[in-house]
């Protein structure tokens, strides 16, 4: 019935890493306007919830966007069952502020886990703006790591870390970071990943007075500033991640509150997953 319904067709689905899927979606209206740092909200089927996902890549000429997500709950697992040729019921984007891109000098970009996906377009834009790029991507283990081949060509210096040492440096993303901080002047850091990662990166940047941008993955419903489900505390003020973010000054984000709000529906999520598995 609606004109945009013919869009949102999935062109390609791939397993990028363990339980991490990549989807290329025909979404010319989103691709035409997308900028690094923005996100979409999608509903995979009519009875589904609104899922916010950062845009991993976009191609305005082809009219496609690339979404990367980890299959953690009912909705993302169900989304992961979709195949090339299927459609996504609803897709709205790009949403949120684009990243601030200019020549800062030397920029460290840090992507952890599924956060490697949104860090990619930001890295590309900062690279194009002429920054000296130092990239660190990390995951628990080799099998969870992806897109090193996309990140490496955009990086003047490039590090991989794994918690268990199966690839690259053994340790966390902060391991090489604190090391080269000793003799390098860093003008800006952009870190996207799990909360413990962003928290430990900002601990270092705070101590060293380095601006650090993080992109928050708050729970959301609307994505357009009308519900406040995504509110978080930044610099002691309540902010809406959807339209005032998703990027904020990481050095002033209240990660304890964010993490508490992210686990608000743990019981309901378990219930939804159990009842989904039962049906299958």
């Amino acid at each position: 019935m609606d004109k945009n319904k013919s869009y949102n067709k999935i062109l390609d689905v791939r397993e990028l890493a363990k339980s991490i899927k990549m989807m290329v979606v025909d979404a010319p209206e989103v691709a035409a306007y997308a900028k690094a740092g923005q996100f979409v909200i999608l509903i995979s089927d009519e009875e589904g919830e609104r899922i916010p996902l950062t845009i991993g890549d976009f191609d305005a000429k082809k009219g496609t966007i690339t979404l990367v997500f980890q299959e953690v709950g009912k909705s993302t697992i169900e989304l992961g069952t979709k195949k090339a040729g299927d459609s996504i019921a609803h897709l709205n984007g790009p949403l949120g502020h684009a990243s601030d891109i200019k020549n800062y000098g030397t920029v460290v970009v840090i992507g952890g886990g599924v956060g490697i996906a949104p860090i990619f377009p930001i890295t590309r834009a900062l690279h194009e703006a002429g920054n000296h790029m130092i990239s660190i991507i990390g995951s628990k283990s080799k099998e969870f790591l992806f897109w090193s081949e996309k990140m490496k060509p955009l990086s003047h210096e490039f590090y991989i870390t794994t918690d268990d040492g199966t690839l690259g440096i053994k340790g966390f993303v902060t391991t090489p970071f604190v090391e080269f901080l000793k003799d390098k002047k860093i003008d800006r850091v952009v870190a996207i990943g799990p909360i413990p990662m962003m928290k430990s990166v900002t601990k270092v940047t705070k101590e060293n007075n380095i601006p650090c941008i993080v992109s928050l993955n708050s729970l959301m419903v609307c994505g357009m500033g009308m519900c406040g489900a995504c509110r978080c505390k930044v610099d002691n003020q309540s902010r809406f991640t959807c339209f005032q973010g998703p990027e904020f000054d990481g050095n002033t984000v209240d990660f304890v509150e964010l993490s508490s709000r992210l686990s608000m529906y743990n019981q309901e999520e378990k219930l939804a997953l159990d009842s989904y598995k039962e049906k299958k």
Partner: protein, 463 residues
């Protein structure tokens, strides 16, 4: 023949039953009820009721048709001025609008104009299996865009399509209707009714494009670049306000907008069949005294709450909510706490809210809004055990378009500035409804939508 002094009552679901279901509370007039009520209308020559109607419906005329049993003619008269009679017959505050001017108020109850409007609209919905009306509107060959499919946008679209424009509505949500689908609960306004109204507009030729948030991505200027000759912004007052008191970001503290959006739009009352959850709660505090606060309180009861405290800093007299809704909420067992204001929320070790601290208030001299200003009473603090809070202390205009449209003039709280016919500081861009006035009513927004439609037509005719 003597005029009956009391109005014909409308049937309602029993409070004890309805409080556990989401079906419509008021079930509407039967034909007999409608005929009886229509007979009460004096058909005054001066038609005082019309001046209370924001869209100038010829009220006595449609009531006279009901009286004669010409229900089709009655609904035709309503459609002439109002493209959403199913909706307004249910949610208009008639007692402050048309009915306030009814001559019968001098001798008794006013005519229940709203109930008669609903009757006529329901009659059409229930008696015309297939809408077969063919529309023959002129074709002007000019594109116009409407942003937002709430009451303002829908009524603006209804008029523009009749004038002969190619009308496209851009709606950010996946369902159309704006506040009618995300805000007003099923038990006051069934969602299939909103869908019927939107589909009526589609049949008239209005194109509705969902899932597009204008201002993020596609901007106002892009719409002009894509050939739209005039644009109407009806994006509403959707930005929820919080009070800035401690504990407001605890888990289990919702804005009324989030709470109602989860339940109404995302159907979380049917979780887990629908994927969007809502936290279960037994003792709920609803902060505020407006219709949205009442909708939240009554929704909480239907979701299984044992006790719902309405916490409002002014008194009963100052409540902005409709009398009928207050009455319904009282019947259903909502516990009203007037002259009470929250000052903090406290959470358990996992971050879920479990206690609210309030203080008692007293009313002093009137403030800028004309209502008496509440002031805290020293030493009156007390705490209540609760497991959910719904903050319903108002909303301000959605800021997204204003932020991304250079040259669009706004007021302090983000209201878009318009002239007397609804044109903004940008030629060809019009705005109306809550985005201009701040939070108001469905019918006021519809009136603004119609005013702008006429102004857009005048503007484009001069081009």
């Amino acid at each position: 023949m003597a005029i009956k002094k009391t109005t014909t009552p409308m049937r309602e679901q029993d409070p004890a039953i309805r409080v556990r279901n989401f079906n419509e509370v008021a079930t509407g007039y039967t034909e007999e009820d409608a005929l009886e009520e229509a007979k009460r209308c004096l058909n005054c020559k001066t038609k005082p009721c019309i001046k209370g109607c924001p869209v100038n419906i010829d009220i006595p005329a449609f009531i006279m048709e009901i009286k004669e049993g010409n229900f089709q003619k009655a609904i035709d008269i309503l459609h002439d001025k109002n493209c959403l009679p199913l909706v307004t017959g249910r949610v208009c505050p008639q007692e402050e609008q048309c009915q306030m001017f009814c001559s019968l108020s001098k001798i008794g109850d006013t005519v229940s104009i709203g109930r008669l409007e609903r009757f006529a609209a329901d009659w059409e919905m229930n008696n015309k299996a297939e809408q077969t009306t063919e529309f023959h509107f002129p074709k002007l060959g000019k594109k116009v865009a409407i942003i937002g499919s709430g009451p303002a946008g829908l009524s603006c679209a209804g008029d523009l399509i009749r004038f002969g424009y190619d009308v496209t509505i851009f709606e950010a949500f996946h369902k159309s209707g704006g506040v009618l689908v995300y805000g007003i609960p099923e038990f006051r306004l069934p969602k299939d009714i909103v869908e019927t109204e939107v589909n009526n507009l589609r049949r008239m030729g209005v194109e509705v494009v969902n899932d597009v948030l204008i201002g993020s991505g596609k901007k106002i200027q892009d719409l002009f670049d894509h050939g739209y000759k005039a644009i109407f912004i009806g994006t509403g007052a959707g930005l929820p306000q919080f009070m800035g008191i401690p504990g407001e970001n605890l888990s289990g503290v919702y804005s009324a907008n989030e709470y109602l959006t989860r339940v109404n739009l995302m159907k979380s009352y049917l979780f887990p069949r629908f994927d969007t959850p809502i936290l279960p709660a037994k003792n709920v505090a609803v902060i505020g005294g407006g219709n949205v606060a009442l909708d939240s309180a009554r929704t909480a009861l239907r979701l299984g709450a044992d006790h719902v405290y309405m916490i409002y800093r002014r008194g009963r007299e100052e409540m902005p909510a409709r009398v009928e809704e207050v009455h319904h909420a009282e019947q259903e067992g909502v516990d009203f706490n007037f002259l009470t204001n929250p000052i903090a929320y406290f959470g358990n070790e996992k971050g879920y809210v479990h206690e609210i601290e309030c203080q008692k208030m007293e009313l002093c001299e009137p403030d800028a809004s004309g209502r008496r200003r509440p002031v805290a009473c020293a030493g009156s603090n007390f705490k209540l055990k609760i497991d959910q809070v719904i903050v319903s202390v108002g909303t301000t205009p959605n800021p997204i378009i204003a932020k991304t449209t250079p040259g669009l003039e706004t007021q302090k709280k983000g209201e878009i500035v318009v002239n007397d016919v609804g044109m903004t500081s940008i030629p060809g861009v019009f705005a109306g409804g809550d985005i201009v006035t701040g939070a108001a009513t469905v019918i006021t927004a519809m009136g603004a939508g119609r005013l702008s439609a006429q102004a857009m037509h005048d503007y484009l005719s001069k081009e």
